[in-house]
C-alpha cells in the first residue's frame, strides 16, 4: 500500500462573528497518498479553501479549528508548535492561490519573492540562490528568466504570474502542493497551459498534488481521487473513474447533471428572420494621453471594426477572453460610453450617438444584465423598487398600484415569490439576485437583452437554472439575446449564432453548430480545445 502523506481526521473549523458561530468545515476526514493527485470539489462557500488553510494553520484569527488529528507524515499539525509549523509551511507543504494578481506582494520583485522561500528553508549562498531561482523560472517556462527576475508582479500577465506562484511554491521542494483554484482567475486557453504544467512538474518531482476546484470537468482530467464537498462536509470520496461513472451521492449526481456540455449543441437551427439590430463597422477607442500638455497622442482601439447582425427572437453569443473588447462593445451599444464610431442600426434608424429624450425613449428596447449580481443592485433599495425603477422612469403613466401588481407578476415569472418585493437585495443568494436583475430588465418589455456574462459568477447548478429561465423567457416574449461569455459550454446550450472576438475584432462569425463542430480560425480551434471536458480513463 502506498504511504499516506496527509491524513486528516475529523477536522472542523468554526467562525466567530459578533453574535453567532458559523461552522464552515464540519468534521471532515480524508487521506492524500504519496505522489497522487487528490481533488476536492464543491461549490462556492462549501468550505474547501478553508480546509486547506486550516491544515496549514493559516486561518484568520476569528476562526477556531479542532479535530482528531491532522497527520503530515508522522507529525500532527494540530499540536505542532508555531515555530515547527513555519518549517513545514513552504518547505514540506506549499500552496498556490486562486488569483496570482493579489496573492503576490506588489512592491517586491518576483525574483525576491521566490528566493525568499529558499532563504528561509535552505542555507545557500546568494549566487546559489540566484541560479536556483533561474532554474525554477525555467522549469515553469517563463521566457528569458534572466531579464525578468527583477520585474514586479504588475509587469506580468495573469498566466505568467501563476507560473511565478508555482515556481515560488516549488522552491521549497515540497512533498505536498496545495493548489486552490489555480486557474479560476485565468482565461480558458491559459487554464489549460497551467494545468499541463502542474501535471508535468508533479510527474518530474514526484510530489503529491491537492487540487481544489469548483470545476468538475477540470478535476476529472487531472486527479486520481476526488472528494466532493457540500456545506462543510465531505459527502463522497472515490477514485476519479468510479465517481464520474457511478456517482453514489445524490449531490454528486446533481452536480454532474448540471454540468453544461459543449456536445449538447443545438441542431442545425434556423437563423434567419427579421433583422433586429445591425452593427456596422463599430470602433471604440480610448484616448492615450502623454507629454507636457497631456495631449491625446494616440488611441487604444478596444473595439476595432465589428460587424454583427442580430435576428429577432434569436441569440447571438459573443465569445472571447478577458480584455478582448466584448464588454466595451456592449456598453458602446447601450450608449454608456463615448467615442463610439460606426452605425448601430435599430429598425432602420442609426441609434449611435442619440442624446436626451430620443435616447431615453429608445432605452426600453434594449436592456442589460450584468455579470456581478452583487454590485448590480442598489443595496439601499427594496427589490420592489429595483424592479419598478424602469417602469417609473419609462412608463410614468402607470399608477403605483398597477406597478406593484406588475412587479409581483415579474417576480413570479422569474421564479421568485411576490413577497420578495419588500426585501433588500442582501437577503438573497447570487442566483436569486440574478433572477431579480432579469426581472428588472424584463419590466420594460425589451426586444433585446444584453447578457454580460450573467452566469460566470454563479455555481454550476445555479448556472443551469438561470440558462433555462432565460431560454423560457425568450420563447415567451420572443426576445433576442446578445449573450456575452467566455464559456463555450454555455454557448452551446443557449446560442443560435456565435461570434468569436479577439483583440477587438470578430475573427469568426456564424451559426453555432458550424463553429463548434467545424471551426475554421486557429483561435477558435484553440478556444475549443481548451474547454475542459469530463474525460475519464
Amino acid at each position: 500500500m502506498t504511504k499516506r502523506v496527509l491524513s486528516v481526521q475529523g477536522l472542523s473549523v468554526q467562525f466567530q462573528t459578533d453574535n453567532e458561530k458559523v461552522l464552515v468545515v464540519d468534521d471532515i476526514s480524508f487521506d492524500i497518498l504519496e505522489s497522487e493527485t487528490f481533488g476536492l470539489v464543491g461549490e462556492s462557500g462549501s468550505g474547501k479553501s478553508i480546509s486547506a488553510l486550516a491544515i496549514l494553520r493559516l486561518l484568520p484569527r476569528s476562526a477556531k479549528m479542532s479535530g482528531k488529528h491532522v497527520f503530515f507524515k508522522e507529525k500532527d499539525l494540530l499540536t505542532l508548535p508555531e515555530t515547527s509549523m513555519c518549517q513545514i509551511r513552504g518547505r514540506r507543504i506549499a500552496m498556490i492561490f486562486q488569483d496570482p494578481m493579489i496573492a503576490l506582494n506588489p512592491v517586491k520583485s518576483i525574483g525576491h519573492q521566490i528566493s525568499e522561500v529558499i532563504k528561509i528553508h535552505f542555507e545557500l549562498s546568494s549566487s546559489e540562490i540566484q541560479s536556483r531561482v533561474l532554474t525554477l523560472l525555467r522549469q515553469v517556462e517563463i521566457p528569458s528568466p534572466e531579464s525578468r527576475i527583477g520585474d514586479y508582479p504588475h509587469q506580468f500577465s495573469g498566466g505568467q504570474l501563476q507560473r511565478v506562484m508555482i515556481a515560488a511554491a516549488l522552491a521549497g521542494e515540497p512533498d505536498l502542493l496545495i493548489a486552490d483554484e489555480p486557474t479560476t482567475a485565468l482565461d480558458v486557453t491559459i487554464q489549460a497551459q497551467i494545468l499541463t504544467l502542474l501535471k508535468s512538474i508533479q510527474r518530474q518531482v514526484g510530489m503529491s498534488l491537492w487540487l481544489i476546484s469548483h470545476d468538475l470537468a477540470l478535476v476529472s482530467s487531472m486527479v486520481d481521487r476526488v472528494a466532493v464537498m457540500k456545506k462543510g462536509r465531505i459527502v463522497e470520496v472515490a477514485e476519479t473513474q468510479q465517481l464520474f461513472t457511478y456517482p453514489e451521492h445524490a449531490y454528486t449526481q446533481k452536480l454532474l447533471a448540471a454540468l453544461p456540455s459543449i456536445d449538447s449543441c443545438r441542431e442545425e437551427a434556423n437563423v434567419t428572420g427579421d433583422i433586429l439590430l445591425e452593427l456596422k463597422n463599430i470602433r471604440i477607442s480610448y484616448p492615450v494621453r502623454k507629454g507636457i500638455f497631456n495631449r491625446i497622442v494616440s488611441h487604444h482601439q478596444a473595439v476595432d471594426g465589428v460587424n454583427l447582425t442580430l435576428h429577432a427572437g434569436k441569440t447571438l453569443a459573443l465569445v472571447g477572453e478577458s480584455g478582448c473588447g466584448k464588454t466595451t462593445l456592449a456598453k458602446g451599444l447601450l450608449n454608456l460610453i463615448e467615442n463610439v464610431e460606426g452605425h448601430i442600426m435599430w429598425a432602420g434608424q442609426n441609434i449611435n450617438g442619440l442624446q436626451g429624450e430620443p435616447l431615453r425613449q429608445m432605452r426600453s428596447n434594449i436592456q442589460i444584465i450584468f455579470q456581478d449580481p452583487f454590485s448590480s443592485m442598489n443595496p439601499r433599495m427594496l427589490v420592489g423598487q429595483i424592479i419598478g425603477e424602469g417602469l417609473r422612469s419609462l412608463h410614468p403613466e402607470i399608477s403605483s398600484q398597477q406597478r406593484k401588481v406588475e412587479v409581483a407578476t415579474l417576480l413570479q415569472q422569474v421564479g421568485l415569490s411576490a413577497e420578495c418585493a419588500t426585501r433588500y437585495p442582501h437577503e438573497f443568494s447570487g442566483g436569486q439576485r440574478q433572477r431579480i436583475c432579469i426581472a428588472r430588465a424584463l419590466a420594460v418589455r425589451p426586444k433585446l437583452i444584453i447578457c454580460d456574462e450573467p452566469t460566470s459568477a454563479l455555481d454550476v447548478s445555479v448556472q443551469e437554472k438561470i440558462i433555462l429561465l432565460l431560454k423560457s423567457l425568450q420563447q415567451q416574449y420572443e426576445m433576442s439575446y446578445l449573450f456575452i461569455t467566455h464559456d463555450l459550454a454555455v454557448v452551446s446550450e443557449i446560442a443560435d449564432e456565435l461570434a468569436v472576438m479577439y483583440e477587438g475584432k470578430v475573427v469568426e462569425y456564424g451559426p453555432v453548430y458550424q463553429l463548434l463542430n467545424d471551426p475554421r480560425q486557429p483561435y477558435t480551434q484553440q478556444l475549443l480545445k481548451a474547454v475542459p471536458k469530463i474525460s475519464v480513463g
Binding site: 462573528t17 456598453k331 431615453r360 432605452r363 439601499r380 433599495m381 425603477e389 420594460v444
Partner: protein
C-alpha cells in the same frame, strides 16, 4: 425672547436632525448599524454623557431679556437656572471649596481692628462659622444630601413610570428592571444632583481673577464647544456634498473646476487662512460698529463667522472623499442599469449615489466634531478664535496661562477647562468610533 444667530442655527440644525430621524425611523438600512451601536456599551455611555452636554448647550441657546440682570440685559435659560453661580462673585481668586480668598488683604474685623490675612469669601462657604473645623464634614453632608436628592428623584421617576405601565397593562405587579442604559442615566443624574447641591454653597471649582465662579464659566463654555463642533459641519456639509458628488458624477469641466477650487483652498495652510479671515472680520467689525448693537450679538456674530470660516476651509477633505466614492459608484452595475432604464441623472444622483455615500458623510461628521472642539481652544489661544468676551475653554486656557507662572500657582481654571474639554472630546471620540464601526461597510464584510 431674543434670538441670536447661532441660536437660530442650532435649533434649525436640531429640527433638521429630528425631521430626518423621523423620516428614516423605519428605514431598513439603518437598523443593523443602529443595533450595532446600541450593543456597544462604551458608545452608549458616551452618548448619554454627550446628551447631557447637548441639553446644557440647548438650554444655553434660549436667550431672553431680563432687565437689570446684566449690562446687556440678555440672559439664557441656563443663566436663569444658575443665577446664584454668576451673581455671587468674589473679589478675586479663591481655590475650589475654599471659604477664603487666595490672596492676603487687610481684614476689618467686627471690633474695628484691621489684620493682614486671608479674608473670608462673600459667598463660598459663608454659612460656616468656623470653616477650618466644619468644612470637610459640611462638604460631605452636602454631597450626601445632593446625591440622595438625586436618588430619590430617580427612584420616584422610575416608580411612577412603572406604575403607569402597570396600569396600562392592567397588572398590579411592579416590574422595575433598569437596564444598562437606565443605570448609567441614574448615575449621571445622581452625580449631577450632588454637584448642584454643592455648588449652591461653595465655589466648587474656585473663582478666577475677577472673582467669577469657574464652574459657571466651564458650563457656559459647553455651548461654544458644541456650536463650533456642530455648526461648522452644518455649514461645510452642503458645500462638500454638492461639489463632491457633482465632480465625481459629471466629470469633465465640472470636475476640473471643483478640483481646482479645492486644491487651491487646500494649498493655503488652514490656520493661516482662518487667521487671515478672522483678522478681516475683526477689521470689518471695528469699522462698522453700527451693525453690532450690543456685546452679546457682537460676540455671537464673531462665533458665527468663526464657524463659517472653519466650514469654508474644511469642506475640501470630505469633498475629495465623496468625489472618489462617486467616481467608483458611477461605474457600479446598478448605476449603469439605471441609465439603461432611462432614469434621469437627477434621479440617479438622489436614488443611487446619495444614499450610498451617506455613511461617509455621517462618519466624517461625527469624526470632525471632536477635532473642531480641540481646534477652538488652539485658535482662541492665538487670538483668532471666539470673541474674548465669549465663554470658551480656549479663552479660559488662554487666560490661565499667566496664572501658571504665579506663585502660588492658580491651577483650577486651567484644569477645569481641560477636564471638561477632555470629557466632551473623549465621549465624542468614543461615540464616533462606534458610528464608524457600525456604518463603514469595509468593517462589516465578514457578517
Amino acid at each position: 425672547m431674543i434670538i441670536l444667530w447661532t441660536d437660530a442655527l442650532i435649533y434649525l440644525l436640531l429640527t433638521t436632525a429630528m425631521v430626518s430621524g423621523f423620516f428614516l425611523r423605519n428605514y431598513e438600512g439603518l437598523k443593523r448599524p443602529l443595533n450595532k451601536i446600541a450593543a456597544n456599551k462604551s458608545a452608549m455611555v458616551s452618548m448619554i454623557i454627550l446628551l447631557f452636554f447637548v441639553a446644557i448647550g440647548l438650554l444655553d441657546s434660549l436667550h431672553f431679556k431680563a432687565e437689570g440682570q446684566r449690562a446687556s440685559g440678555i440672559i439664557s435659560v441656563l443663566d436663569y437656572c444658575t443665577q446664584p453661580l454668576w451673581q455671587q462673585t468674589e473679589k478675586t481668586y479663591s481655590a475650589p471649596f475654599s471659604a477664603y480668598l487666595y490672596s492676603k488683604a487687610y481684614i476689618t474685623q467686627a471690633n474695628g481692628f484691621q489684620s493682614w490675612g486671608f479674608p473670608r469669601l462673600k459667598f463660598g462657604g459663608s454659612h460656616l462659622l468656623n470653616p477650618e473645623i466644619e468644612k470637610t464634614a459640611d462638604v460631605l453632608i452636602k454631597l450626601i444630601v445632593g446625591l440622595s436628592k438625586g436618588f430619590v428623584f430617580c427612584i420616584s421617576w422610575v416608580g411612577l413610570r412603572a406604575l403607569c405601565l402597570a396600569k396600562k397593562a392592567g397588572q398590579i405587579r411592579l416590574q422595575v428592571r433598569p437596564g444598562f442604559m437606565g443605570i448609567t442615566i441614574i448615575i449621571v443624574v445622581v452625580g449631577l444632583s450632588g454637584i448642584i447641591e454643592l455648588s449652591t454653597y461653595y465655589h466648587i471649582l474656585g473663582t478666577d481673577k475677577v472673582g467669577e465662579d469657574v464652574f459657571y464659566q466651564t458650563i457656559k463654555s459647553i455651548r461654544t464647544g458644541l456650536v463650533i463642533g456642530s455648526l461648522t459641519t452644518f455649514i461645510m456639509l452642503p458645500l462638500a456634498v454638492v461639489f463632491g458628488i457633482l465632480a465625481g458624477f459629471y466629470r469633465g469641466w465640472v470636475d476640473d473646476l471643483i478640483q481646482y477650487s479645492y486644491t487651491t483652498l487646500n494649498s493655503i495652510p488652514s490656520v493661516l487662512l482662518i487667521a487671515a479671515s478672522i483678522l478681516m472680520v475683526q477689521i470689518y467689525m471695528v469699522n462698522h460698529p453700527e451693525l453690532f448693537t450690543n456685546l452679546e450679538s457682537r460676540a455671537d456674530l464673531r462665533l458665527l463667522f468663526l464657524c463659517l470660516i472653519l466650514g469654508v476651509t474644511s469642506w475640501t477633505g470630505l469633498c475629495r472623499m465623496l468625489r472618489a466614492e462617486t467616481l467608483k459608484l458611477r461605474e457600479m452595475g446598478y448605476v449603469q442599469a439605471a441609465k439603461v432604464l432611462g432614469v434621469r441623472p437627477i434621479g440617479i444622483l438622489f436614488q443611487h449615489i446619495l444614499p450610498n455615500v451617506m455613511h461617509i458623510i455621517l462618519i466624517s461628521v461625527v469624526l470632525d466634531f471632536s477635532a473642531l472642539v480641540l481646534a477652538e481652544a488652539v485658535l482662541s489661544y492665538i487670538n483668532v478664535g471666539v470673541d474674548p468676551s465669549t465663554y470658551s475653554w480656549g479663552n479660559m486656557i488662554n487666560g490661565a496661562r499667566l496664572e501658571m507662572a504665579r506663585e502660588p500657582v492658580v491651577w483650577w481654571p486651567l484644569i477645569a477647562a481641560f477636564v471638561f474639554m477632555f470629557i466632551l472630546v473623549l465621549t465624542a471620540n468614543l461615540f464616533a468610533d462606534a458610528v464608524r464601526d457600525a456604518f463603514d461597510p469595509r468593517r462589516n464584510q465578514h457578517d
